[in-house]
């Protein structure tokens, strides 16, 4: 019962008690005031999110002239979307990127529990170090990594050459370029994931570990059978956010590879394709159709995750 309510309320990671959830369903004793307080936020969301979404949906049924002016062309953009080989490729690339970045979640779980070990010295320093990449601007990070990844003069290949390995051109080789971007995305996301997971870890009662130690459970067994199961609400939240971010891949790809990269055609993401069609090719109607596709896909993926969470997420 409580699981269902949580799913609908869309507040993963929280475990509200069943009574609180049921109280929300009753008529409100506070009168009009809650509505008044929510109104400023709602107006902002309506003006800057809802209205543009509706407008984009409308634009996806139109074709734009070179210098503005649009004509209604029905499903033309969508039939182009269905037959454009670039779309399939971009969707596949987006999924590959998302899967690689998702691999960062178990890494973050491991690192978070190491950093949060009771009695660890300098734990704040470690946490800051891991969180720094997330605070830095993605574009600035990309500029630095572009130099690190440089095939002829980059630090990474210099390092490899010390072991007699001839490093590849990380960001301009088909196939490899996307993985290089994804590894960078993974590295950036670890800090954020760790903060969320650390908060989850703090919520696990110490008594459980004490009891497990007395029963003779090893550190690893404690991790496997106490930490991970009780952390699942946070893990679930992190996964939802990671997948949504994965679908929005643009800035890292754009700055790390650059628009004239020979590997770009086979590495582009859905959002990069949207940018290219809308602003470089100036086909804003088709761009809008791609944007709607991304919206629908993110919606489906998120809904599916919420549907299946009850099989593995433990809300205590």
């Amino acid at each position: 019962m409580s699981l269902n309510t949580v799913a609908k309320a869309g507040a993963p990671g929280r475990a509200p008690a069943g009574r609180r959830a049921s109280r929300l369903g009753r008529s409100n004793p506070d009168g009009i005031w809650p509505v008044v307080f929510v109104l400023p936020l709602f107006l902002g969301v309506a003006v800057f999110y809802l209205f543009p979404i509706i407008q984009t949906a409308y634009f996806s049924f139109t074709t734009w002239g070179v210098f503005g002016g649009s004509t209604f062309t029905g499903l033309e953009n969508y039939s182009k979307l269905a037959t454009d080989p670039q779309v399939g490729r971009a969707l596949l690339n987006t999924l590959i990127y998302t899967v690689v970045v998702l691999a960062g979640v178990p890494i973050a779980v491991g690192l978070a529990s190491l950093v949060n070990r009771p009695g660890l010295r300098f734990s704040k320093t470690y946490r800051t170090m891991f969180f720094l990449p997330y605070v830095a601007m993605p574009v600035a990070i990309s500029m630095v990594w572009r130099m690190i990844y440089n095939g002829d003069f980059g630090v990474l290949n210099y390092f490899l050459s010390l072991f007699g390995i001839l490093g590849p051109h990380w960001v301009s080789t088909d196939g490899l370029a996307l993985i290089s971007v994804a590894l960078l995305g993974l590295w950036i996301s670890i800090g954020f994931n760790m903060i969320i997971l650390s908060a989850g870890l703090k919520g696990i009662p110490v008594e459980l570990y004490e009891a497990a130690s007395i029963d003779g459970a090893s550190r690893f067994r404690q991790f496997r059978q106490i930490t991970v199961p009780l952390l699942t609400p946070s893990i679930f939240f992190v996964m939802v956010i990671t997948i949504i971010n994965g679908f929005q891949l643009f800035d890292l790809l754009y700055t790390l590879l650059g628009t004239t990269n020979p590997a770009m055609a086979r590495s582009q993401s859905l959002v990069y394709l949207f940018y290219n069609e809308s602003f470089i090719q100036n086909d804003k109607g088709y761009g809008a159709a791609i944007a709607i596709l991304v919206l629908v896909l993110v919606g489906i993926f998120t809904a599916v995750q919420f549907r299946f969470q009850r099989r593995w997420v433990n809300y205590v």
Binding site: F67, D152, F153, V171, S172, P262, A265, I280, N282
Partner: protein
């Protein structure tokens, strides 16, 4: 009439343009003679090259000596965003009153009624097209009407590093070099200096201006037919011109496409890692600030069937919808004067388009032998390949050709595919 009152109250010229545009009644008055010097107006001047800001500020100051009551505000937008922004401005009728135009974009704006023809200026003798190279007048004309006043021009030549040639024991390029000699020298240098990571040649193959447009013309082919209606990429001579770059990459004379994506071609040259580069007039200030500046000079591009380079230049244009037509055209005419050309050349900002004013630019770095670019313009320059929607097939070149240069696909197959797709796009242009 409410509109007029509003316009008067608004100081910023941009806003004035916006309002007038919304009213749908753009001022269409044509200047019969030079605008009166006491004309009062606020206009904007849009351009992309921040390096030229000092020169542009000087031109505005000189213009104000004559027209003290016309306030010109600069609108500098970096190249990467310039065209995206300009297209948005055109869509919302907020174009700058006067702005820089380039060849590939010109016909798109002119054919959609965004630009004011310079006919009144020519009729009243304020601008004389005979003062500029013919190729540039043609570049900024559509259906017999000229819209842009040429500002500057650039041609392509072979830049080389004498020190690297000496190190490899290869004779330096001459004014009569052939493509075969160029290829042999590039290969020899790459082979001999491989251990130092130095290549014979590095050339920017993103866009054709500095490489394949020139080699295609040298081989006797063309990118687009003279009437702008058919693609020339399937011509065997054009394919030969493209093949040059695939060969240079295949035999290691040049860094490959990945290497030049990670590190742009001009950086290889600027840092003494490439002995040669095909590039234009605009590299003068960059090379002059690089570590190799004392070892570098310029010769004409090697000849194949014939000597050839593309010529391109920026044009100053006026928005067709400006409410300050008289002031904007007065400024456009001033930018096309000999005085303005000399000011730009002396400041080393650009190679001016006004005939006979280039000497100051040639003298700005004597060791580079800049005269080569000027001779190229008068002796063997071909017009820059454009059509009404150049950007559409430029995009095709950018997606298809890298596979030919990298050796992934045979050059002939890619060129034929490109020609077919380009012809389909050209057929859509009215």
């Amino acid at each position: 009439m409410r509109l007029k009152k509003l316009s008067l109250g608004v100081v910023a010229a941009v806003t004035a343009v916006l309002l007038a545009g919304c009213g749908g009644s753009p001022a269409e008055q044509k200047a019969a003679g030079p605008a009166p010097t006491d004309l009062k107006a606020n206009i904007t001047y849009g351009y992309w090259d921040a390096n030229q800001t000092p020169a542009m500020d000087k031109l505005i100051a000189d213009f104000n000596a004559k027209y003290p009551n016309i306030k010109v505000t600069s609108q500098v937008t970096p190249w990467a965003q310039y065209w995206t922004k300009l297209q948005t401005q055109a869509s919302s009728n907020t174009l700058p009153d006067v702005f820089w135009m380039n060849g590939p974009n010109f016909q798109l704006y002119a054919s959609n009624g965004q630009l004011a023809p310079i006919t009144p200026l020519v009729d009243s003798k304020q601008v004389d097209p005979a003062n500029y190279p013919d190729a540039l007048n043609k570049l900024y004309s559509l259906d017999g009407k000229q819209y842009g006043v040429p500002k500057d021009f650039d041609t392509i030549a072979l830049w080389y590093n004498k020190k690297i040639f000496a190190e490899a024991g290869v004779a330096v390029p001459t004014n009569d070099w052939t493509t075969a000699e160029f290829k042999t020298a590039a290969k020899t240098i790459s082979d001999k200096l491989k251990s130092k990571g130095i290549y014979g040649v590095a050339t920017n193959l993103v866009g054709g201006q500095e490489g394949y447009y020139d080699s295609i013309l040298q081989a006797g082919g063309n990118v687009i037919s003279a009437d702008g209606k058919t693609s020339g990429y399937d011509d065997p001579k054009s394919i030969k011109g493209l093949q040059l770059w695939a060969d240079l990459i295949a035999d290691g004379s040049s860094p490959n496409m990945q290497q030049m994506s990670d590190t742009p071609a001009n950086k290889w040259f600027d840092n003494g890692k490439a002995a040669m580069i095909w590039t234009g007039t605009w590299m003068v200030s960059e090379v002059n600030a690089s570590p190799v500046k004392n070892d570098v000079t310029v010769v004409p591009l090697p000849k194949d069937e014939r000597a050839a380079t593309v010529i391109h230049g920026i044009g100053n244009v006026v928005s067709a919808k400006t409410p300050n037509m008289q002031a904007a055209q007065a400024f456009q005419a001033f930018l096309g004067t000999k005085e303005a050309a000399l000011a730009q050349a002396t400041m080393g900002a650009a190679n001016p388009a006004f005939n006979g004013t280039q000497q100051a630019f040639v003298d700005s770095v004597p060791s580079f032998n800049i005269q080569v670019f000027e001779d190229a313009a008068t002796k063997y320059a071909f017009p820059f390949p454009v059509s009404k929607n150049t950007a559409a097939w430029n995009q095709l070149e950018a997606t298809l050709l890298p596979d030919a240069f990298s050796g992934k696909k045979p050059v002939g197959d890619v060129a034929k595919d490109l020609a077919t797709q380009m012809n389909a796009l050209l057929a859509k242009e009215k």
